[in-house]
């Protein structure tokens, strides 16, 4: 019996039954897009608008004085801008190179222990970057562990190199997850064809695999660049003592050191946003040049490259690196949390559990724990859902709202948490929308700040999926929503899970925005740690950090395990 081929439009004809019926036939996608997409756009544009207003106002009057002031002074603009760009570019390139290499080793080779690699790559990201920076100082500083054990100081404690090193280690996970996910869902028939055509393994890698991975690689590089531009915890600890600052340390100083220069801080923040948009535009331009479609419904069998002679040395190098970068910061953190007194060495005689007792005796602990988990999971869920909607809207449907979601999510990702915090206080701590003192202001803050992580990853992944699969579904009579649910979403499972995981981790450890927006009762574990640190109470603060990192780690392992992230298994 011949099947009636339905047109590739939503079922039924428009007009039959009216708008309500038409919407009903759309299924869940349209209302979800409206609520999540619209919600996100409001939550990101309104505070930004208030920020723009703040940059143009002085007291009550409108003025361009803040802009002129910024342009006029080197120390406000050109010097920190240069530093930011250099550090972030270096971090982006290095972390992407590392992440891509590690992802390839994990998914496409027979390296020993590759199934455990994801955890080790993710750990340095779960530790907040200011902790990583602290650990670096504790390890390599003049009063550091390395010096007290070996008498040497192999690496400088402060400066550009330590800053780039710490940030690279912190951000390798972005490109790792993006590339591993893409490699895992790659259709190898193109590579097989190349091999059949006579190219050797290395040539296939260079001329077929690598170009196909370009969207994911670029995606990871972009995320690392934006994250680094928005970072100020590590620059303040590592760069400032060496005498140089970045745009973010400048924004931090302008908005927290009296006399507060809010207007100028807002101008610099807007500049960061513009830079983010520019970088994004370059990324899109680069991607527009080719087609990276790979998963097109044909059967795939993951091809493993045998490393043979290189297996042992590569394994040694990779695992030394992974263990060092994952365990050293954790060990330093735990050590500080057990330290009895500063200046009495790091031996067992100076270790104590007293700080943990202090933390456990605190009456705000259980509340902070619960807040951390609930807010992070909530924000991650919202972000993953919005990531899907934004990616679909931008890449598949090619709509304007999709492109705007993509842009705004990235701009907010490139915005320092401190600025998002200020913008949210400006927008939501008074009329007309007053969320002061509630959990919502934190939840929305994390959502807006980190959704970009999910959007980027899912977009890159979606670019690789041929629309043939969805069209096949439509041809068979499924409505768009059913197609999305049963074909598209499962194919995107890895990038969605990666997005969920990244947002979860980042929301749990977020401090700068939280420190401005939290109120009594809505504190998180990271915030409690930060409070202790700013009191000068590093040891108890580290105890809180250890607890927070443990929870984030366990959560990440559960999420990664359940979605079989980057394990090299097929995603369809």
């Amino acid at each position: 019996m011949a099947r009636h081929v339905r047109p590739l439009t939503p079922r039924g004809t428009a007009g039959a039954g009216g708008l309500r019926a038409a919407l009903g036939r759309q299924g869940w996608f349209a209302p979800a897009a409206l609520v999540l997409g619209g919600g996100f756009l409001f939550l990101s544009l309104y505070p930004y608008a208030r920020l723009v207003l703040a940059s143009l106002r002085d007291g009550g009057a409108f003025t361009l004085a803040h802009y002129l002031n910024v342009a006029r002074h080197d120390y406000l603009l050109s010097t920190p801008l240069l530093h930011s760009l250099v550090v972030s570019a270096a971090t982006a390139v290095l972390s992407t190179a590392l992440g891509t290499l590690l992802a390839w080793l994990a998914v496409r080779t027979d390296l020993a222990g590759r199934h455990a690699m994801t955890a080790f790559v993710a750990i340095p990201h779960i530790v907040p970057s200011f902790q990583l920076a602290s650990s670096w100082i504790v390890l390599f500083g003049d009063a550091g562990i390395v010096k007290s054990v070996t008498g040497l100081t192999p690496f400088p404690a402060y400066g550009v190199a330590p800053l780039v090193a710490v940030q690279t280690i912190h951000l390798t996970v972005f490109s790792y997850l993006n590339v591993a996910g893409a490699l895992g869902s790659l259709d190898p028939s193109l590579e097989e064809a190349a091999r059949a055509g006579g190219l050797n393994a290395r040539q296939v890698l260079r001329r077929v695999t690598f170009p196909l991975m370009l969207p994911s690689i670029l995606s990871g590089m972009l995320l690392a660049f934006a994250y680094s531009m928005a970072e100020f915890g590590a620059p303040i600890l590592l760069a400032a003592p060496a005498g140089f600052g970045t745009l973010t340390t400048q924004i931090y100083e302008l908005s927290t050191a009296p006399p507060l220069q809010f207007g100028e801080a807002a101008v610099l923040s807007l500049l960061l946003g513009v830079l983010a948009l520019a970088v994004m535009a370059i990324n899109l331009r680069l991607l527009a040049r080719g087609s990276f479609v790979t998963v097109s419904g044909k059967s795939s069998s993951g091809e493993i490259t045998r490393l043979r002679g290189l297996r042992a040395p590569l394994a040694a190098l990779a695992w030394i690196w992974l263990t060092a970068t994952a365990l050293a910061p954790l060990a330093a953190l735990v050590l500080i949390s057990l330290l009895g007194s500063w200046g009495r060495g790091f031996g067992p005689g100076n270790l104590t559990l007293a700080h943990y007792s202090t933390m456990l005796a605190s009456h705000t602990l259980t509340n902070a724990l619960w807040n951390s988990l609930a807010l992070a999971l909530g924000a991650a869920a919202l972000a993953a859902a919005t990531g899907f909607i934004a990616a679909y809207g931008a890449v598949r449907l090619k709509t304007a709202w999709g492109a705007w979601l993509d842009r705004m999510s990235f701009v907010n990702f490139a915005t320092p948490g401190l600025v998002v915090g200020i913008a949210f206080v400006l927008a939501f701590s008074g009329p007309p929308v007053n969320l002061f003192g509630t959990y919502w202001i934190l939840l929305f803050g994390y959502f807006v700040r980190f959704a970009g992580l999910a959007v980027r990853g899912v977009s890159a992944n979606l670019r690789q999926l041929s629309s043939e699969l969805e069209e096949a579904g439509l041809v068979c009579g499924l409505g768009r929503s059913r197609v999305l649910a049963r074909i598209t979403l499962p194919l995107l499972r890895e990038s969605l899970a990666a997005g969920f995981l990244l947002v979860f981790v980042n929301a749990i450890k977020e401090v700068s925005m939280t420190s401005l927006v939290a109120s009594q009762g809505t504190e998180t574990l990271a915030y409690e740690a930060f409070l202790r640190y700013s009191d000068g109470d590093y040891t108890v603060g580290s105890a809180y950090s250890v607890l927070m990192v443990t929870i984030a780690l366990v959560g990440s392992l559960i999420i990664a395990r359940r979605s079989r992230l980057a394990s090299g298994e097929l995603s369809s």
Binding site: A54, Y75, P80, G141, D142, A143, I236, L237, A240, P241, G243, F244, G245, T249, Y252, E253, S255, T256, A257, P258, P259, L260, F262, L339, G340, S341, W342, G343, R344, A354, I422, V425, L426, A427, F428, S429, G430, P431, N434, F436, G437, S515, L516, S519, Q520, L531, R532, Y533, S534, D535, G536, D537, Y538, T539, V540
Partner: protein, 347 residues
Amino acid sequence: MKFFKNAPRVFGCAAFAFALLLGATAGRADEGLNALYQKAKAEGKVVMYTSVPTFIVDQWRSQFEARYPGVKLEYFRSGTGKVLARINAEKSAGQLHGDMVWVADATAYVHFAKEGMLASYKTPEWDHIPFGKDPGGYFVTGRFLPGVIFANTKETQDFPASWSDLADARYKNKVVMASAVVSGSTTVMVSSLVHDAGLGWQFFQKLKDNGVLILQDVPDVARAVASGERPLGITLTLYKYQAEYKNSPIKIVFPKEGPILMSSPIALFAKAGHPNAARLLYRFLLSKEAQEVLSQSGIYPARDDVAGPEGLPPLGQIKQKAIIPDSDWMVAHWTDVKSQWRGMFGR
């Protein structure tokens, strides 16, 4: 004749009336407190924005809520800079949520008063505070933070005798301090050393030439000295009294000019949502019970009838030989100080 017959009666009445009046005024302080408490109970809570260390504020909260059941103490605690940023942002948003403010930066209060954000409130407790009181009643010192030199006794036994000694060649690469751009208390200390102690900017130029390490804020300086990273540092006394430094090899050095005695004022917001509860808390924080908590944590209380931190000279003694920052000069030169610093140290 009639007069002398009635004199005792008249005199007695006058005396009685006088005694009543005296009793009334003397008791007014406590009566006022009680009446204030009743009004505060009706408001239910007070919100304090502060940079005072959390463990101290928590102690105050227990004491305050025990003494005044029915009035809750809520607080927003962060570094001085972030508290000021939040106040600023809330003001721009149109609704200030705090009832009172207590941060380390004295010049911020001058700024707040100028903007009309503070309420004038002079209380009997003011009589016990020797100095650091705003004539208009808008703010008063709640605690004194002495800026001193920390020395790591394991790394050095050569302690500087005066502030100017720090710039000596023998201390090359041995000194650490915080940034005057980021750390509010350091801005005050730098201003005081430049202007009030008369050392001028040459002092800091020499420090720079001798490789002084600049960290972000004063707690970092305490850690750097305690851990032995640098043997000498400019920071605040209170850090020595924290648990993780109690057994550290730190010595607090009072140079011969004396410490830099900074005052950290306390003030009420004019548009407070809970004005009476705020006044109650204000008076509590200036009471002996609350001020003693400060002493135990290595901070000098504002009140002269409360003993200072154990192991440190009493306030009366320090006051005679201390560098007292000139608030008016600081307010006028705040941005200049920062630009000078920036020009010298690069950021």
